[in-house]
């Protein structure tokens, strides 16, 4: 058994480390420790040329760690446990690899491990890191197949292979028939850690979302985006209140999506980040329902499948409307229900307004006035509230966040007998001047209220705007005191940093749109533009086959082309032989210059002298001790002028 080449082994360790590195912070600490330890052990084995540990030891370690992984994750299946096991077993396999076959299997597993990183992150950075990993691992693989070569040459070969494979990759990427996943049920933990709005609203959950500057969605408007204060992106709507938490309750009564539009619609395209829920966002109120989704009578857009990958849909919205759906007597009654007993002071206040007011809209205006003048404070860290949360917020702590204000407002409305509901979603957004996309982040999450006025239908009321108009006009950072922890870059003053982020995010957006977001629809669009109006499965497969075949043929022509000799003397000699071959005298592979010249001389007696001279000079130049540049020039001239 030949010794495995040490430089390639080190490269393999490096490649493995690169593939495993992004996983380590996500894994239990002891796995990181184990991996580093095993890598070190194996490197020590190579360094000192000592023998590998015995098989039973590795087997014992494998079973121990399997048990530990089970204890940690309560399963050995699923995404996270699977990755943990892959990392551990790959590291263990290092101490068990003896033959060329073993190492190449490890390279294969390491390629696989590189892919698993994309479960967690598909950013440009991850892509770059995995490209590096791919190059390192391929270099190691070449090294194992050519043990006497230098690493630099192996790196070059790996680069050539991957580089020449690039056109094939591109064709496969663009033309391989895309299927919308998933193909089967996903592991339970597949979508853990996606941020976004929740299907309930409890004081505190939107304010904690506001700490995140993760992107919720992007919108690209045809023309100028509307003013910031009009950007209300509608999400889940809540009807039922238990004194503390708002829920959808019985939910929208029907899929009866209808309103009376007024004015001209705004046209835009939405790209929503995955959030593992059904909501699709749109500006109030959406004029169309995206494909694969449906509208409800409370104007939510719900995707039929949870949004688990980035979705893109064209949209138009009417910013002015009369919303009259979802207002049957039963629904209006439901929109007045309150849990008995809680918040007596708020109820009393509401009943007083009710007595004094002439109509519903008067009650609403009094309530808004109250929010404006009661000295409420807008804060990301409101104090904890007890059982009578609305009373405490309004009269005791007097501070809250949008979810507190909307909750209190709807409570007051219902207590006064006015049908009302809570709407959550996002408010605002930031125009990226680099690519003109409006970016809406989790920190733009917002909650507001809708009130039923018999004369106008459902009307949006934003009590937060009454407390702090800045929130709606300028965004979160302007609205909360400077001392509060909003994401660093939401604050406006670090101009160059923001500029940098705009550029980076524009790049990331293009990446999302074209690399990550190349889905079945995009592919249909692309093929449509290529002149395939209705590509079906067979047509796509045929196209793919011919495209890959064509590309590989082109690469083959390039790779297998005849290389001119590096040695000029040899090149001249071959040209000479070619001339004679065309004249009918082909040099046999076994013939040296002298023997060939002799035969050629006999075949072309008139030229015998020249042929002999060329052959002699060639032999001198090629095999002689010293090469005289003048001789090379003379040889070139003789061959150029030679006519058999």
């Amino acid at each position: 058994m030949p010794r495995l080449p040490a430089p390639s082994l080190y490269l393999l360790f490096l490649g493995m480390t690169l593939a495993a590195a992004p996983h380590l912070p996500r894994l239990p600490w002891w796995i990181a420790l184990l991996v580093v330890g095993l890598l070190g052990w194996r490197a020590w084995v190579v360094q000192r040329s000592i023998s590998l540990p015995r098989r039973w030891l590795i087997l014992g370690l494998a079973f121990t760690t399997l048990a530990m992984v089970y204890l940690h994750y309560k399963t050995v299946f699923g995404r996270d446990a699977g990755v943990a096991l892959l990392v551990i077993f790959l590291a263990l396999k290092l101490l068990e690899m003896r033959t060329l076959r073993d190492v190449t299997v490890v390279v294969l597993l390491a390629y696989f491990l590189a892919l698993t990183n994309f479960f967690y992150s598909q950013t440009i950075l991850t892509g770059a890191l995995m490209t590096l990993t791919l190059v390192v691992l391929t270099t190691a693989l070449v090294g194992f197949n050519a043990p006497r070569r230098r690493v630099r040459d192996n790196l070059k070969t790996a680069g050539v292979l991957l580089g020449q494979g690039l056109p094939v990759m591109l064709v496969l990427f663009l033309l391989f028939p895309r299927v919308q996943g998933p193909l089967w049920g996903m592991p339970q933990d597949a979508y853990a850690g996606m941020t976004g709005l929740s299907d309930t609203m409890t004081p505190g959950n939107i304010s904690s979302l506001s700490q995140s500057d993760a992107i919720a969605f992007r919108a690209r408007f045809d023309g100028e985006p509307p003013a910031r204060g009009r950007l209300y992106w509608r999400g889940p709507v809540f009807w039922e209140f238990d004194g503390r938490t708002w829920r959808a309750g019985r939910g929208p009564s029907s899929q009866f999506y209808r309103f009376e539009p007024e004015g001209v619609p705004v046209q835009y395209e939405m790209t929503v980040e995955p959030h593992n829920r059904q909501w699709l966002f749109a500006l109030d109120l959406a004029g169309q329902v995206p494909q694969g989704a449906y509208g409800t009578s409370d104007y939510q857009l719900l995707s039929r499948q949870p949004v688990r990958s980035r979705v893109r849909y064209p949209m138009h919205s009417f910013l002015d409307y009369r919303a009259t759906a979802g207002a049957t007597p039963a629904e209006l009654d439901y929109a007045r229900e309150l849990p008995p007993g809680v918040n007596p002071r708020a109820r009393e206040l509401a009943l007083r307004w009710r007595r004094d007011a002439k109509a519903e809209d008067d009650v609403m205006l009094r309530a808004l006035d109250y929010f404006r003048t009661a000295g409420l404070r807008y804060t990301l860290n409101p104090p904890l509230l007890g059982a009578d949360s609305v009373d405490e917020m309004l009269f005791v702590t007097k501070s809250g966040f949008c979810e507190h204000f909307s909750s209190a407002f709807v409570f007051l409305m219902r207590a006064a007998g006015v049908p009302a509901r809570v709407v959550t979603g996002y408010q605002g957004g930031e125009l990226n001047p680099v690519d003109q996309f409006v970016v809406v982040r989790q920190s733009d999450a917002h909650a507001w209220a809708e009130v039923w006025l018999p004369s106008r239908g459902w009307v949006r009321v934003d009590p937060t705007a009454a407390v702090v108009p800045m929130r709606v006009e300028s965004g979160l950072a302007a609205a909360v005191p400077d001392t509060e922890p909003v994401p660093l870059l939401v604050r406006v003053d670090v101009t160059w940093l923001r500029q940098l982020r705009f550029s980076w995010e524009a790049l990331a957006n293009r990446w999302n749109q074209w690399v990550l977001g190349y889905n079945p629809e995009r592919q249909r669009d692309f093929l449509h533009r290529l002149g395939m109006p209705s590509p079906d499965w067979q047509k796509m497969a045929t196209t793919l086959f011919w495209a890959v075949g064509g590309i590989v043929t082109l690469i083959a022509l390039f790779v297998l082309r005849r290389r001119l000799s590096k040695d000029p003397v040899q090149r001249i000699w071959l040209a000479f032989c070619a001339k004679l071959a065309r004249a009918g005298t082909e040099r046999r592979p076994s013939e040296g210059p002298a023997a060939f010249a002799e035969r050629a001389g006999r075949a072309h007696p008139a030229r015998a002298g020249v042929v002999q001279a060329v052959a002699r000079l060639y032999a001198d130049l090629r095999y002689g001790p010293q090469r005289d540049p003048e001789g090379v020039a003379r040889l070139a001239r003789m061959v150029r002028e030679f006519r058999p």
Partner: protein, 333 residues
């Protein structure tokens, strides 16, 4: 069971002759043209394809855009590697090089000279013969020797037979190979037994007694070196003094010669045992520095000494009664 059936089939049916058009040994340089170079994925290549399939399914299931990119990049790399594997072997030229004779039971070595006529380096080219395998790198426009070891169990003529030239460079996903049958062989000398030289015996024609006993004869003088003289008998000190090579000349050798004769062998010995005995005698006589001749049925080699003489005698013994190869030039290749 199945493997043995398959092996029998291959052995009996001249499978390679039928399928790969290899029957007669080829003389002269053999160029591995496109027609005789084959490419197929290796087991590792199939495992690689399976892994890519799994990666593709994973990418579809989890909608991983970058997963597609990685999977397809590896697929592209794999496809391209096939071309490079093919290029690494195609158009190589194989020439028969040196081959050293061997005693039966030993291992014969055949040098295959691999010539790379192309402007790029070739790496890890394997020459395989039976279970033996050796690999060499051949730089651009250079040649390199692959020394193939072939077991030589039986006395006679040993042709190198079918040699597989193969490569898996650069990434081992594909195997590219070609069969060559170079016209190349060596004489396999009979394996010497452990007998002593035959006792001294008077030759009627010389009237003297040849001695075989110890003490290797008396030193009789020096004569100029002739090609074929054993280096053991060169008088190095004298050569230094005189400025020319001189060979020690022993008494009892120039005068009388030792004949190693078939007829001297005991009748109980069978053919191979006789040849083994004679081979032993040749070696002992050569060792002792005698001039010796060989007389066997159908052949007689006049007495002489030196390495060339010894090898000629051994070759004659090796090829005794053996089917001589068509092109057999029973000399050192």
């Amino acid at each position: 069971m199945l493997t043995s059936v398959i092996k029998t089939f291959f052995a009996r049916s001249d499978f390679f002759g039928l399928v790969f058009g290899l029957r007669a040994p080829e003389s002269g340089p053999i160029r591995l043209t496109q027609r005789r170079v084959y490419v197929l994925p290796t087991g590792y290549g199939l495992a690689f394809a399976l892994a890519l399939l799994l990666m593709l399914i994973g990418s579809i299931n989890y909608s991983l855009g970058l997963g597609y990119v990685l999977t397809f990049a590896l697929a592209g790399m794999g496809l391209v590697s096939m071309l490079h594997t093919y290029r690494n072997l195609a158009n190589l030229t194989v020439r028969a090089g040196r081959a050293d004779p061997v005693f039966a039971g030993g291992t014969a070595t055949f040098d295959l000279v691999l010539e790379n006529p192309s402007g790029f380096d070739r790496f890890t080219l394997f020459a395989r013969h039976g279970t033996f395998s050796v690999d060499v790198d051949v730089p651009a426009e250079r040649s390199e020797v692959a020394r193939v070891a072939v077991p030589a169990p039986k006395r006679g003529w040993l042709a190198v037979g079918r040699v597989t030239l193969e490569t898996r460079f650069p990434v081992g996903l594909f195997r590219c190979w070609s069969y060559v049958l170079p016209e190349m062989g060596v004489a396999v000398y009979p394996r010497p037994d452990d007998s002593e030289l035959p006792p001294a015996k008077a030759r009627p024609d010389s009237g003297e007694v040849t001695s075989t006993g110890g003490g290797v004869d008396d030193f009789a003088g020096l004569r100029p070196y002739q090609p074929g003289d054993s280096p053991r008998h060169i008088a190095w000190k004298a050569a230094e003094r005189e400025g020319l090579l001189l060979t020690k000349h022993f008494a009892g050798r120039g005068a009388a010669e030792l004949w190693l004769e078939w007829s001297d062998l005991p009748n109980a010995l069978d053919l191979e045992a006789r040849l083994s005995r004679l081979a032993r005698w040749v070696l002992l006589a050569d060792e002792a520095g005698f001039a010796y001749g060989l007389r066997i049925p159908g052949a007689e080699i006049e007495p002489g000494f030196g390495d060339a003489h010894r090898d000629a005698c051994l070759t004659r013994l090796a090829l005794f009664d053996a089917t001589p190869p068509r092109h057999a030039a029973p000399s050192r290749a």
